[in-house]
Subunit: 423 residues, 2 copies
């Protein structure tokens, strides 16, 4: 290991130790203190607009010189309006109920003990994310509100702006009497440090990796720290026999075209054989007008002559583009089987008028979000009432689907007795 | 890879594929069907007592020939009474409420959608455990009740009896119309297969490794599948200033000596300085009478002359033996700091008459179970009302502390709408 590497590793370990110490202090804070910190940060960001925009300009100039692609450039860009949304975001999080400290399900046991569970911070949460300065503030806000200490590792292109934001966050924490190390930015964006973080079990309690599949799969290979993973969304809409066809048309359109590049966008449409002949050609017109390429099974290709033949690989592809795979199915069961076989267990919807099918779909489709008569695009923390979202989890354990404050907490057992012994 | 290895790997993959298929069927079953399977298994075990005891005798003979140590031999041994407990265990699990299918917190959102969460099986659960045939039945019962498919990998010494039990379990599943592959025994007990299982993400959803720290740490090194880990319990009792000293005596005695080798046994006792002079010598008498070796900090060694000086390593040791570390602390805060620094976040108790300290202890001690005026030995699934326990988890995410049926389930989002679109 070179001297340079050693210093980088030392720094990460020092950051981890400070985060651990801060997490114990954070666990003792009141909701009022944590909200005061959020408000102090909001005020400081408001007062530092020109400095933040200047730091962002420096990031943008460096990114332009390095030839960053347009979509990423767009996400990196701050303006006065996005700074205002950061501030409003902090205040929205402050207004959410305190997720910490409540004891639930306290029950008297035959021994005379009372046993319940208390919601507490997880401890140290690391968040790895793309070059978007607004995520720095959102992530910090959710971690502060939930009483955790956090290590933020944003995309390297945003490092100047993230550094400036993190100074303001730490000053706000100090002002509210909270430990400044509760939010630390990993300024060294060397990729090997991300791998090191994933091995710091006993120091880091959970990692939320946002960003590409490549990053997450690399972390999965080496991680000893639990990951709240964002993997792909191969989302389906199944249009059942007897569905309201106008509603189905609107949902299929919205789920595919409202935004092409998100994880909750529909990638495969399943249609019951009995309605396909009259409904699919109408739908094809809608997509044609919007430039969506259609790939279908043989039955679909008969009904939509300009559809390409879908291959087996199409059923397993997250296009994130103006492409849709369509399959005609013989039955409700065939639709459920297709989704459970080819999907990514993310978000799947049925359009149906049959309550029995609706109930079975909810139960039998093994996905984080199962929906009846709703566009898959509605799978979202704000739409679900979480108030804010740190991401959408593909995990089955702990946080599944949209992750809000609750996903950043843990439940511990509390036991109240008067001398109970084991006999 | 030799032909032998290849066959073993193929078999594991075949088992995994069958478990996955069975898990989807299990997710569609009713609670009544799953309970019928448990009853059918109970009846079959009852009818096969002599065959089971014969299989167990063959295991015991092989174990004796191999020189298995006495404690393990004891756990391996079945008799008519332990078979009866298996049967009663199955019926107890059948009587528990169905953990599957309930929708909680259904709320109407501003969009008009209703959003809630449904408790569902996790999918495929692998359980790795010691050579104890009763665990085969307990684990199968909990997984069937919670609608999962399970792969059981018991200790090799119990392989004949486990094989016989698994045949009965599969026959019971078939009788109730459930997929027989919902419970499969991994008959090849080659250790490398355990490692392979831990890498079968996408097939196995979670692994519950019971058994030694060595096994669990080896799995943590390679696992891509989430683990519900049983690691060590370095459990504390802190006797606060103003505690009921008789209660403290009884709790300290019970927590250390009621059973020495369990994870919820006390390993370190912390005593407030103000009560140590009169209380510790009395306590020492109790332990002396029971042959417990005491290791103390300097203040303790002054008060208990026959105590050995404790080293730093003692505070971090899970003795699982008749040894106790004792430390005199200056304050409540010092006690909490000691526990959070040296403990294993498993189970910790305070004995106190001060309600403020009790509340702060619950909040500030970062452990799976935090207790007031109760022996740490009471950290147990049955005592907590879980009805049955698959183990005690050291994880902070998902299942923490005693794990019952809920720990074998997942929460998915259910969304009910009437045409909601994202705008």
């Amino acid at each position: 290991m070179s001297g340079q590497d050693r210093r980088a590793v030392d720094t990460l370990e020092a950051i981890g130790a400070r985060a651990q110490a801060a997490s114990l202090k954070m666990a003792r804070t009141s909701g009022a203190q944590r909200n005061a910190a959020l408000e102090a940060i909001a005020i400081r960001i408001d007062g530092a607009r020109s400095a933040l925009l200047a730091a962002n300009r420096a990031d943008l100039e460096a990114a332009a010189a390095a030839g960053l692609e347009a979509a990423l450039f767009d996400r990196l860009t701050l303006d006065d309006k996005t700074v205002s949304s950061m501030i409003e975001g902090l205040r929205q999080v402050a207004r959410l109920p305190d997720p910490i400290g409540a004891i639930s399900d306290l029950a008297l046991r035959p021994s005379g003990m009372q046993v319940g569970r208390m919601r507490v911070p997880i401890g140290v949460v690391a968040i790895i994310y793309e070059a978007r300065p607004n995520v720095t503030v959102d992530a910090a806000a959710l971690c502060i509100k939930s009483g955790n200490a956090t290590i933020l590792r944003g995309g390297s292109e945003a490092i100047r702006c993230n550094g400036a934001l993190c100074e303001l966050i730490m000053a706000g924490l100090a002002e509210a009497g909270l430990p400044v190390d509760a939010v630390q930015l990993l300024r060294d964006t060397d990729r090997t440090l991300v791998t090191r973080m994933a091995q710091m079990s006993g120091v880091i309690d959970v990692i939320v990796p946002r960003g590409g599949r490549g990053l997450i799969e690399a972390l999965m290979e080496v991680a000893r720290v639990p990951l709240i993973k964002h993997l792909e969304g191969i989302c389906h809409v199944y249009v059942d026999e007897g569905a309201d066809l106008e509603m189905a048309l609107a949902i299929a359109d919205n789920a595919k075209t409202q935004r092409l590049g998100t994880c909750n966008t529909m990638e495969t449409l399943l249609v019951h054989r009995s309605i396909a002949p009259h409904w699919l050609p109408r739908l094809a017109q809608v997509y044609r007008a919007k430039g969506v390429e259609l790939r279908g099974d043989p039955a679909t290709c008969v009904l939509i002559p300009d559809a390409r033949a879908a291959s087996e690989a199409d059923w397993r592809t997250e296009y994130l583009a103006a492409i849709l795979a369509i399959r005609v199915v013989d039955s409700f069961d065939a639709a459920v089987d297709h989704i459970n076989t080819y999907g990514s267990h993310h978000t799947d919807a049925i359009v149906t008028g049959d309550d029995g099918h609706a109930q079975r779909f909810l139960r039998e489709v093994d996905s984080a979000s199962v929906m009846v008569n709703v566009s898959t695009r509605m799978a979202d923390g704000f739409e679900y009432g979480l108030g804010a979202e740190i991401g959408i989890s593909n995990n089955k354990l702990h946080a599944r689907g949209p992750v809000g404050l609750e996903g950043l907490t843990s439940l511990k057992w509390v036991v109240l007795g008067n001398g109970q012994l084991r006999t």
